[in-house]
């Protein structure tokens, strides 16, 4: 196939004002201003259209329909003292924690061995809607529990076999620090019941993993006379993971998680970054060399609030400045990418990215944050993220600029297969009908 005479934003190089991309066998065979169209190619006229690399969702649950939206960053907010971090897991906790855990040895809320690649469901409806928004790829993770499991980079195909969709696996271990606040701390409940409990648990797991490794290696060298070590699938899953994802929205959390990752001696990717706009945050991230996934779900004012309750200055400021985080991180030289964080309607995703652009992020950088940057973060930049010869043929073709007020995705190529966007569906749940015009009441 070939897309001819289009404007091509390669991301890896300068924009080609008018050129052609040739796809064959699911890969990009050629791209350039003067690329000849092979005689056997099906030609798509790209006049007046723009070609981008297919968008990559840096932290997703697309493809895992049972999972909760990736790290919903809303909290019940009833922290008694101080602020609680990321909370709320999937409604159904996995079988591993049906009885009350009495300590770290019970491995509560841990399914570290779970691999997204093994659980992909091509029939997840969100795959189609995501494509309509221009996404060709998602880095999908199980998200339920403390050690939720290992993610996979998947292409958003409507495939027969889930295995076809997997580009790279595993993609890292998803960790969440989900516990409540107040003085309760899980009294009468399962361990851990507090944030510090979760942290202590994670720490213990890594100590155990280190020890487990030593013992296993010693046993492998010479089992004679040694008691054989017990197989611990939780630790196996942890050892398998080359990097971990840690939640961090507030500056305090970013500081805390970077320190924690250093203590655990793990390569960490932070996700959330709500307070990424604060200069100290950018400094810390830069110094640690840690990449960060910025949530596109910008904070909003609560809908039905008591007019007598005025939000704090801190809250107001965050709402005001959050969308400027990407621009500031970019300027500071911090490696970052966007992720959908529960948004899956094209309009919502578009609007969210536009907000970051309005707040100072250049359009080119916005595109990069959804293409080459996530590819780099997950080590698949040799295959994805830009329009270059030899890479996977994941493209999105639009009329007008991506992230404009009225862009229109014309078609999407995933692994070289052409898809046309579905008609926009009314958003299911959450926001209510996405209406235009003023004065629409909720």
């Amino acid at each position: 196939m070939a897309v001819r005479n289009a404007r091509i934003v390669t991301v890896s190089g300068p924009v080609i004002d008018q050129g052609t991309v040739v796809l064959r066998h699911g890969l990009i065979e050629a791209v350039g201003a003067n690329v000849p169209v092979p005689p056997d190619a099906m030609v798509v006229d790209g006049e007046g259209l723009t070609v981008y690399p297919g968008l990559i969702d840096g932290l997703s649950t697309w493809g895992l329909p049972g999972a909760a939206p990736a790290a919903p960053t809303a909290t019940a907010g009833r922290g008694g003292r101080g602020q609680t971090t990321v909370t709320t897991t999937a409604p159904a906790t996995p079988a591993a924690t049906s009885t009350r855990a009495r300590g770290p040895e019970d491995r509560p809320a841990t399914t570290s061995w779970l691999k997204a690649a093994d659980e992909i469901s091509p029939t997840d409806r969100r795959i189609e809607t995501a494509r309509s928004a221009g996404f060709t790829t998602a880095v999908t993770f199980p998200t339920s529990g403390i050690f939720a499991g290992q993610g996979a980079v998947i292409d958003l195909l409507s495939a027969q076999k889930p295995g076809e969709m997997v580009v790279a696996s595993p993609a890292g271990q998803y960790i969440s620090l989900t516990r409540g606040g107040g003085f309760g701390g899980g009294v009468g409940g399962s361990f851990p019941g507090s944030l510090m409990g979760v942290i202590a648990y994670v720490r213990q797991i890594y100590l155990d993993a280190e020890h487990y490794k030593l013992v296993k290696e010693a046993y492998a060298r010479d089992p004679r006379g040694m008691t054989r070590p017990e197989y611990d699938r939780a630790l196996e899953g942890v050892l398998e993971s080359k990097q971990i994802l840690l939640p961090a929205n507030r500056l305090v959390e970013i500081d805390r998680m970077l320190r924690f990752a250093a203590e655990l001696k793990q390569r960490a990717i932070l996700y959330g970054a709500r307070e990424g706009y604060r200069p100290e945050a950018a400094d810390l991230l830069k110094k640690a060399g840690a990449p960060v996934l910025v949530s596109l779900h910008w904070p909003e004012a609560p809908r039905d609030a008591n007019p007598e309750d005025v939000d704090s200055l801190r809250t107001l400021e965050t709402r005001d400045k959050a969308p400027s985080a990407p621009a500031l991180l970019q300027k500071a030289g911090v490696q970052f990418a966007f992720y959908s964080d529960g948004l899956d309607q094209p309009r919502d995703l578009q609007r969210a990215v536009k907000k970051a652009i309005d707040a100072g992020l250049s359009r080119a950088d916005a595109v990069r944050a959804l293409t080459l940057s996530p590819a780099e973060i997950y080590g698949v930049a040799d295959r994805l993220g830009s329009i270059e010869t030899g890479k996977i043929a994941n493209l999105v073709v639009t009329k007008g600029e991506l992230f404009d007020d009225q862009p229109r995705v014309q078609f999407i190529f995933v692994d070289g297969r052409k898809y046309t966007p579905a008609a926009e569906t009314p958003a299911a749940g959450g926001r209510g009908p996405v209406a235009e015009g003023p004065g629409v009441d909720q």
């Binding site: 602020q83 904070p299 959450g430």
Partner: protein, 448 residues
């Protein structure tokens, strides 16, 4: 003649034996309603203040209390407690505030007061001679509306609060005003945080999907419904009042309605617990509409409401001065400066501690208000004459004046100062021993 002599003889003997007749000699008297008088004496006769002056000479045989270098103040009045009604906050069996039921005007706090409560002895030692005790003051004890053990529906009218002395053989003995006020817990729309343990700081993460729990629209609707119910209840009471006066045939006595009549007649004020400015405003509007007298309890803010309160002469009972600000951005001294704010706005107020444990710290609460802008004299008034006036007993209590009851304390110094010691305490002229369970434990263990 003989009978007269016998009478006089008896009277003299009575003086000598009488425990509510004596002279306090050579003290610095702080009447509160007038300038301090140094080096004067106070004659207490039959439990009342008979005379104050430099030239009082005690008749022969009359007991004299030498108060050289000491001060005499009126005993303090705490306008917001649950004393006698709640012993141990965490033990339900010992707590008698917070009854069930939405409209319970017929409940009388007075009859549930336990004169044997240890709390009385503890607060007396710090100079508190009388308190208002409320059915569900909203303190940490009971609370039908929002205390620890509130059950069932939201309570609106909690019952009759009583003004009592902090000493007496029975509650009858202790009663000063059996029905000093009717407690109305005005409907409220829950805010973000509460008092006491501190506000719940805004979580950045609350921003996304709104706060958990009832939405504002829902809460507002419920709020308005409750105010409507309240008005309906009052209408019912007025109807009852009419029927009663007209001796309508088939008229049946209804205890709840009976209890409302003194309120409707303006004889008993409604003590209204309302904390936020909008609720205060609505409460004032309600009082206007129903043409009743109200006293505002524990506002957490005054703001715009202050002008309204002043215009309508609505007195206020200020709650814990030593409390945290409500919201993260509020000035750290928000609660400390509220009394000064009330004073500057011309609002009449008294202090209430609203927590049995802290009643003994009443004077220190007042002192903190002084540190943050309240004139000293106003602070003193707010624990003596102001509450007496607010609760309608200014003829009997609240200052060291002739004709009033001898509810007095003799101190080593400033009544509001922490390091001052209380030497003597009198309730209606009878001296009450300044001992309690705690002083007894002290005596026992210091000697181990």
């Amino acid at each position: 003649m003989k009978s007269l002599a016998i009478l006089i003889g008896c009277a003299m003997a009575a003086w000598a034996a009488s425990n509510d007749t004596f002279v306090i000699r050579n003290a610095d008297v702080y009447p509160v309603t007038g300038a301090a008088m140094k080096g004067v004496s106070v004659l207490v006769q039959d439990g009342k203040i008979a005379d104050i002056g430099a030239k009082i000479v005690a008749p022969k045989g009359m007991r004299v209390v030498d108060a050289k270098g000491l001060r005499v103040y009126p005993g303090m009045i705490d306008s917001g407690t649950e004393l006698g009604l709640a012993e141990i906050e965490s033990v339900r069996e010992s707590v008698d505030t917070g009854e069930l039921g939405e409209f319970m005007p017929q409940l009388r706090a007075l009859v549930a007061v336990n004169p044997g409560s240890e709390h009385f002895g503890v607060v007396r030692v710090n100079g508190i001679t009388s308190v208002m005790t409320f059915p569900s003051s909203g303190g940490r004890g009971g609370g039908g509306g929002g205390g620890r053990f509130g059950g069932g529906e939201q309570q609106l009218i909690a019952g009759q609060a009583a003004l009592i002395h902090t000493d007496g053989w029975t509650w009858e003995d202790m009663a000063i005003e059996r029905t000093a006020a009717m407690h109305l817990i005005f409907p409220s729309i829950a805010g973000r945080g509460g008092r006491g343990g501190g506000p719940i700081p805004d979580s950045v993460l609350e921003l996304i999907s709104g706060t958990a729990g009832a939405s504002y629209t829902q809460a507002r609707h419920t709020y308005e419904q409750q105010i409507a119910k309240l008005n309906d209840f009052f209408d019912q009471a007025r109807q009852y009042q009419k029927e009663r006066a007209a001796h309508a045939p088939g008229f049946k006595t209804d205890l709840k309605m009976e209890a409302m009549i003194p309120v409707l007649e303006g004889k008993v004020p409604m003590a209204v617990s309302a904390s936020r400015a909008s609720a205060i405003h609505d409460a004032i509007a309600f009082a206007d509409k129903q043409n009743i007298k109200i006293v505002l309890l524990q506002p957490r803010e005054l703001g715009q409401a202050a002008a309204e309160l002043k215009a309508k002469n609505i007195p206020v009972i200020l709650g814990r001065v030593l409390a945290l600000p409500e919201a993260e951005d509020d000035p750290y001294d928000q609660a400390f400066t509220l009394p000064a704010e009330a004073y500057k706005a011309g609002v009449k107020f008294a202090f209430g501690t609203f927590d049995n444990e802290f009643v003994r710290n009443l004077p220190f609460q007042a002192a903190t208000a002084v540190a943050f802008g309240l004139p000293y004299d106003e602070a003193l008034k707010a624990v003596t004459i102001n509450p007496a006036e607010i609760w309608g007993v200014a003829n009997e209590l609240g200052s060291v004046e002739k004709g009033k009851w001898a509810d007095l304390v003799i101190t080593t110094g400033d009544l509001l100062e922490i390091q001052t010691g209380i030497k003597h305490l009198y309730i209606k002229g009878k001296e009450v021993e300044l001992t309690n369970k705690q002083t007894r434990l002290y005596e026992k263990y210091i000697a181990r």
